[in-house]
Amino acid sequence: MKKKFYSLYKIFLINAFSNKIALMFNIVFPVIYFAISNAPVFINNYTVSKSKLISGSAYYFAYIALTTVLNSVILAMVEYRDYGYYKVIYMVTNSKYLVLISQFLSQWTFLIIELFLFNLITALMFKSFAYLGYLLLTTIIAATVLVLPLTMGLYFLLTTKLKLQTYNIVITLIILASFMVSAVEAKNKLLNLLLLCTPVKYLMKGYEVIMQMLFSRVNWATLANLLIVILIYVLFGMIFIAKQNISTIFEK
C-alpha cells in the first residue's frame, strides 16, 4: 500500500509542478500585489511588529490557499476525469480513497512550497527574518488544519456535470464572491456563521485563530464557530466522495 501511495503521490506532484500557469496565478500575482502595496515599508525601512506582519499575511494566505485548492485540486481533478486519466488510475489502483488522499497530499506539498516562497518574500520585504519562523509555523499549521476540510467541502463541484470551460468561470466567480464577502461583518450570530462558511473568510479567520493560539489569547467564540464550519465542510465532503464511483467517472 505504501508503495502504491508513493507512486501516485509522485505522479500527481510531477503534474502539479508542470502546470506553470497555475503556479503563476497562485503565487506570482499575490507576490507582485504584496510588493506594490507594501512598497513604502520596503523603501522607507519602516519597522513592522510581529503581530502586524502575521495578520497582514492572512489575506494572502487565504488567496494562495483558495486558488491552489480550486486550480490545483478541484480543477485538476475535473481535467483528470475529462481527459480519462482517472479511469486509468482507478483501474490500476482499485481504490478511490488512495487516489484522493495521494492527490490531496501532493497538492498540500505544492501549497506548502508556495507558502514558503511567499513567506520568504514577505520576510525579505519587511527585513524581518527573525519572524520568518513564526510565519512558517502559522502557515504550515493553517494549511494542514484548514485546507483539507475546505477541499472536501468543495468536492461537490466534481459531481456537477459542467463542461471543463464552464468550471473556469465558476471557479473565478467563487474566488471573486468569496473575497467580496470576506469584508462583510454581521451582528447576527447565525449570519456570521454563514459568512464564515465562505472560503476566504473561513481561511482568514482560521489563520487568525491559529495565530492567536500560538502567540496570544484565543477567542473561544470564534474558535467554536470555526470548528462548526470545519465539521460542515467535512460532512459535505464525505457525502460527495461517497457518491463518486467508476460509473460516474466513466459517464464523463
Binding site: K3, S7, I11, N15, G84, K87, V92, F250
Partner: protein
C-alpha cells in the same frame, strides 16, 4: 465466462437483445463485428464501467481482478514512458515475471522511447506503450479494445505476440476486440461475432469460414454482418 440472455439499452438505444456468448479461459477470445455493433459496450459491461444485470454475466472476475486497455487510453502527458511503466509496475502487489514476448516488445519498441514524454509520442507509439503497460499488470482477466488501431504491421505482430503470451505463458484470460480480420488466420483464437444485437457466431476461424461457405474471411464477415447467416451456437 459466459453471457446469458443479456438485454441492454444505453441512452434509449437497444444495444443487445437476448445476447448469448461464451468465452474460453485458456484461449485468446476475439470479439469482431461492424462499427457500432456493440463490441466496446460488451467490454465495458464485462469490466463494470456500465452496470449490467448480474444474472446475465456469469463467471467473470470482479472489477479489481480485471485490467482493461480501452480505446484512446491516455495518461499524464508530462510523464516519461519510464515513469508511466514504473507507475503501472508499482501497482502490482507482487513483482511480476515477464514473458518472452513482453521482453522482446520492451527491447524492440519501448526501450527506444523510455525517456520520451507521453506528449511527444506518435499515436502508434502511445498505443504501444499503453498496451505494454496493461500487459505488465498482474490480473486474472485482460481486456483489450482495438489494441492494433493506429499501429504499423510490424508492431501489430509484436502486440499480438504479447497478448497471446499472456494466455499461453501466464495462463491469463484475455478478451480483445479486433478489426484486422487478416490476423485471425494466424491465431488459435475463439471468435465471437457481434451483429444485429446478438452473438451471430462463436467458434474458430476455420468454423467461421466453413459456416459462411467460403475461403475468404472478408466474405464470411460480410455475410454474417448482413445477417445472411444467423447462427448463434449456444
Amino acid at each position: 465466462m459466459e453471457i446469458k440472455h443479456l438485454n441492454f439499452s444505453y441512452k434509449n438505444k437497444e444495444i443487445f437483445a437476448d445476447f448469448n456468448a461464451k468465452f474460453i479461459a485458456d484461449q485468446l477470445n476475439i470479439i469482431i463485428g461492424s462499427n457500432g455493433a456493440g463490441k466496446t459496450t460488451l467490454l465495458n459491461l464485462i469490466y463494470g464501467f456500465i452496470d449490467s444485470p448480474a444474472t446475465a454475466m456469469i463467471g467473470f472476475p470482479s472489477m479489481p481482478n480485471i485490467i482493461y486497455k480501452f480505446q484512446n487510453m491516455s495518461f499524464f502527458d508530462e510523464l516519461t514512458v519510464k515513469q508511466v511503466i514504473n507507475f503501472f509496475k508499482s501497482m502490482n502487489d507482487h513483482t511480476a515475471t515477464s514473458t518472452n514476448a513482453q521482453t522482446s516488445f520492451y527491447n524492440e519498441i519501448i526501450k527506444g522511447l523510455i525517456n520520451t514524454k507521453l506528449r511527444s509520442l506518435s499515436g502508434g507509439e502511445y498505443q504501444s506503450v499503453m498496451v505494454y503497460c496493461t500487459s505488465i499488470m498482474e490480473r486474472e482477466l485482460y481486456l483489450f479494445d482495438e489494441p492494433l488501431s493506429g499501429i504499423d504491421s510490424y508492431i501489430e505482430n509484436l502486440i499480438l505476440d504479447l497478448i497471446v503470451s499472456l494466455v499461453v505463458e501466464k495462463k491469463k484470460k484475455v478478451i480483445m476486440t479486433l478489426h484486422q480480420l487478416d490476423k485471425l488466420n494466424s491465431m488459435q483464437a475463439h471468435i465471437v461475432f457481434v451483429g444485429n444485437k446478438k452473438c451471430v457466431f462463436q467458434g474458430t476461424y476455420s468454423e467461421m469460414l466453413h459456416i459462411a461457405d467460403t475461403d475468404d474471411i472478408d466474405i464470411a464477415f460480410k455475410k454474417m454482418r448482413s445477417g445472411n447467416i444467423l447462427l448463434n451456437q449456444e
